[in-house]
Symmetry: C2
DNA sequence: CGTCTGTTGAGAAATATTTCACAATTTGAT
DNA sequence: ATCAAATTGTGAAATATTTCTCAACAGACG
């Protein structure tokens, strides 16, 4: 299989959401690349090219079957099974993420949270118990989550990443504004909540 | 001035952070494109090209003055003045954002929050008072924030955007997983907290 | 002063991504 | 069965972005 451009992977996630909205709103069985492009604010050609990397899903003259396409995208994105995740740093942002039902809807289940503040340890947020950081390794080895979410202050991000890697997670999502280094076998993605504010400021100026 | 590639603008924000870290950690007066590239996980050539779009800031043989470069980046990103913002949707995510000191450090000050839940109206989160949505227009017209942050459920995102645009904000940062439409004069940026999880899932698969 | 070193700035080349454009295909109507 | 309309999939062209390269330059040092 050809190498897929990263922009394509990012758009796939948008298409999924647009398809779900489209289905909920119109209940039509087919959608054209034109329509999907309009919903995703994209050119129709790139929609077709993106989808064609993974096979021929469309019906000339009709478009794409909404249900089939949704299934295909979930399969491509590896989202048809449950993913376990742990979270390090049960502060303001960590709490928001722990309480977010959207993760479970996507198949992500947070199975443990860790914090080094003794006042937080032992409490629960939603379904998720907060453990001391000293329990991170044993809990991860026991529950085998593939994902680690980092929501500690920037200064502690690298240290948290090290712990997660050593304990055996395979992917890290870092919400702290810090560049962390992980071994090449680990999938690392950064989420920067303030970057888009800065970028908007640039375009306003 | 030439048109600046969007990836360049995004990286500028990374360079700023890396420079601040570099300054705090080494206190050296100069940094080379090589070093900055290493910190930002980038090729040195692209660092130089990014910076050269905006003028010649470097000293051959030495590198870039850390302080000068930081000032330049802040000026380029329009971040040397205070920006006022309002937030719509004082739920889990909204609360986390309202309590985040990082915004103020960047010069963003949230001057009001709005929610349609009567139990939330009248309370304060940190310094920020929560108003009913019916007061959005008058408060925005009075306080003239340039930025509107949307942290309502996806189904209410478009409606919130409409209110913000009508009240006169010039930029919208949408944290809800929904595509919203705004007039072309408005700067719209989307922040998707779950996308990177999905993308990581793709690369794990 | 001349030479050596390290580094920039930017043109050229390479690579990546998006858009165009159209033959091929399916549908649905007559 | 034939045809018009709609829409796909994809090569080719266009555009955008990144990387390579190196002449030019500043500073250090003898
Ligand atoms: N809150 C936001 O809206 C927001 C916005 C943008 C970025 N961020 C980033 O997200 C991260 C978390 O932000 P927050 O607002 O939740 O901060 P916070 O201070 O509320 O929470 C951080 C949590 O991490 C815990 N912690 C600290 N060091 C730790 C360690 N070594 N191991 C385990 N736990 C540790 C703290 O006890 C605390 O509970 C920060 O890096 C912040 O910059 C947050
Ligand atoms: N919490 C997270 O970690 C997280 C993660 C990813 C995405 N998001 C997205 O961010 C948004 C907010 O998430 P949340 O967890 O804070 O949800 P939430 O339900 O906790 O908060 C939403 C808030 O918006 C208010 N609200 C609803 N309709 C409104 C309207 N029309 N006008 C004004 N206020 C209104 C509600 O009263 C509530 O206070 C959602 O779109 C969610 O999908 C959140």
């Amino acid at each position: 299989m050809r190498k897929i451009p990263e922009p394509t992977v990012l758009r796939l996630s948008t298409y999924r959401r647009c398809l779900e909205d489209f289905k909920a709103q119109t209940n039509l069985p087919f959608v054209s690349s034109n329509e999907l492009g309009r919903l995703a604010h994209r050119n129709a050609a790139i929609v077709r090219k993106d989808l064609s990397y993974f096979g021929e899903y469309g019906v000339p003259g009709k478009g794409y079957s909404v249900d089939h396409l949704l299934k295909h995208i979930l399969r491509i994105m590896n989202l048809r099974r449950e993913h376990r995740a742990v979270l390090v740093g049960a502060g303001n942002l960590g709490r928001a993420l722990l309480g977010y039902p959207g993760f479970k809807k996507l198949g992500f289940r947070v199975v443990a949270a860790f914090d080094n503040d003794p006042r937080k340890v032992g409490r629960k947020i939603g379904e998720v118990a907060i453990f001391p950081v000293s329990k991170l390794k044993s809990e991860v080895e026991r529950k085998k989550p593939a994902f680690g979410l980092i929501t500690v202050p920037a200064a502690a991000a690298q240290e948290s990443a090290n712990l997660l890697v050593e304990a055996g997670v395979r992917a890290i999502i870092n919400f702290a504004p810090a560049r962390v280094w992980v071994p090449p076998r680990i999938v690392l993605r950064n989420v920067d909540l303030t970057r888009e504010l800065e970028v908007a400021s640039y375009y306003l100026g």
